[in-house]
């Protein structure tokens, strides 16, 4: 073999080695997922060099976990459990005080359709425990007798119950609040394009690096299909649907969004999607609109500033607030 042949063979071998090397992964978004607040939470960073925000994502998850520890009714040391057990006043962290105040405001604006004091009723139905059952009318009446937003007094970071058995459940608002706090942590770390998605409730930070985020809304009756797609930036999107936690008994479907006025599942809507600046507000208002039904629900959305929404009524009719018409795409 000549020297020239050897050189060429070496070159060919080198080329072969380069060809077989695994391709370098192109730098994409940073996506991390955790189980928090009883659901799958995904944080997605779309900034360039997204990997440098790994520590910020860890901090955002830690913030959400801290809020869960304070506000879960299932953890015996949480502030919510302490309020349930208390007979006198209870001191609150700034977070819990803020969420209870917002819950109180939405309860007032919705004439009690959103109610964070349904702890006893929610426990009775057993949806959160994964073992739902149909309570008796007497049980429901007894639970409702002790509930009601007006029976909770909040002042100067302390809370007092007017009736002793009152129990708080922040299921319709705490997840949204945790999403907001996670977004604040990311923004403070310099992230400009991100999404925090907790089991389908989400808030967007900025746009998706030069284009709006495309948020699909699940069709309430065709699992796997999309009702519509929203093109948004920097907004929160929360959907309340009657398909999430359901059981059927004697041909009747019972779902987990309870009407505080009757104690039974609200029947006016199939699903409600609310778009707002903050996920906590969107979360609470989505529940309130669902309970109010399409007519009064739409009126509530239109009466509050910077709130938009899509309502699917029980008969399948869809209504949309005027502000969403330019950003909504039908399939």
């Amino acid at each position: 073999m000549t020297r020239a042949t050897a050189t060429l063979l070496l070159l060919a071998a080198l080329l072969l080695a380069i060809t077989l090397l695994p391709p370098r992964e192109p730098e994409g978004p940073l996506i991390r997922t955790r189980l928090l607040m009883g659901t799958v939470v995904e944080i997605r960073i779309e900034d360039t060099e997204s990997a440098r925000y790994d520590a910020a994502v860890t901090a955002a998850f830690a913030e959400m976990a801290a809020i869960e520890r304070r506000m879960s009714p299932h953890l015996p040391q949480s502030e919510i459990s302490r309020i349930a057990a208390a007979t006198g006043t209870v001191g609150l962290s700034a977070d819990t005080a803020e969420v209870l105040q917002l819950a109180h405001d939405v309860a007032e604006a919705s004439n009690g359709a959103f109610d964070a004091t349904l702890g006893q009723l929610i426990r009775l139905w057993g949806f959160a425990e994964g073992e739902p059952r149909l309570p008796t009318e007497e049980e429901i009446a007894a639970a409702l007798a002790g509930d009601g937003a007006s029976r909770l007094m909040i002042a100067d970071g302390r809370v007092a119950k007017v009736v002793a058995p009152l129990a708080i459940d922040l299921g319709g608002i705490a997840k949204g609040y945790a999403i907001d706090r996670a977004v604040s942590v990311l923004a403070a770390a310099g992230v400009r394009h991100a999404s925090v998605n907790a089991g389908g409730d989400m808030r967007l930070l900025g746009d998706r690096s030069g284009r709006p985020w495309r948020v699909g809304i699940r069709h309430p009756r065709k699992s796997g299909d999309i009702l519509a797609t929203l093109q948004l930036a920097g907004k929160a999107v929360v959907t309340s649907g009657d398909y999430e936690r359901v059981f059927e008994l004697d041909g009747v479907r019972y779902h987990h969004i309870l009407d505080p006025r009757t104690g039974y599942p609200a029947r006016g809507c199939q699903a409600v999607t609310v778009v707002a600046d903050r996920a906590a507000l969107a979360d609470a208002v989505a529940t309130a609109v669902f309970v109010l039904g399409p007519g009064k629900g739409l009126a509530l959305l239109e009466s509050m500033p910077d709130l938009e929404g899509v309502i699917v009524a029980a008969d399948g009719n869809v209504s949309v607030t005027p502000g969403l018409r330019g950003v909504l795409e039908w399939p």
Partner: protein, 132 residues
């Protein structure tokens, strides 16, 4: 030219070998480039990866969470939970997953099973996030 000089000094057999090798390089380059990215499964607990495997080979894996051992099966490119120590077995009820982005979560045993791969442009569902 140097290359011409180089080429003239090779024997006929040398030239054939060199050309075959270059042809092989080009073919391999095309084949590797065209191969779709393989799908795989990743299991995480509290953000830490416990297990990853491609979906091409059937196998079972035992995953440990705070409640005990959850058994996961990969068969015919699909992943499912076959046994779990959690009280309501919601994770088993979630059935098979096989497409990128699909998830099985066992909240009580703190395990998250995700399918990764084939997320290339154009294959997505037409939205970035799903509100439900």
């Amino acid at each position: 030219m140097a290359v011409n000089g180089f080429w003239r000094r090779l024997t006929r057999l040398d030239r054939i070998i060199v050309m075959l090798l270059f042809a092989l390089c080009i073919l391999l380059f095309i084949a590797v480039g065209m191969r779709p990215p393989g799908r795989s499964v990743r299991v995480t607990a509290e953000g830490a990866t416990l297990f990853t495997a491609p979906l091409e080979r059937d196998r079972t894996a035992e995953l440990t969470g705070p409640l005990g051992t959850t058994r996961m099966e990969i068969r015919d490119g699909k992943v499912r939970i076959v046994s779990s120590p959690c009280p309501y077995k919601v994770c088993i009820g979630m059935g098979d997953i096989s497409h990128a982005g699909e998830i099985i979560a066992c909240v009580p045993n703190r395990l998250l099973v995700q399918i990764l791969g084939d997320e290339a442009e154009g294959k997505g569902p037409g939205y970035d996030l799903l509100s439900r």
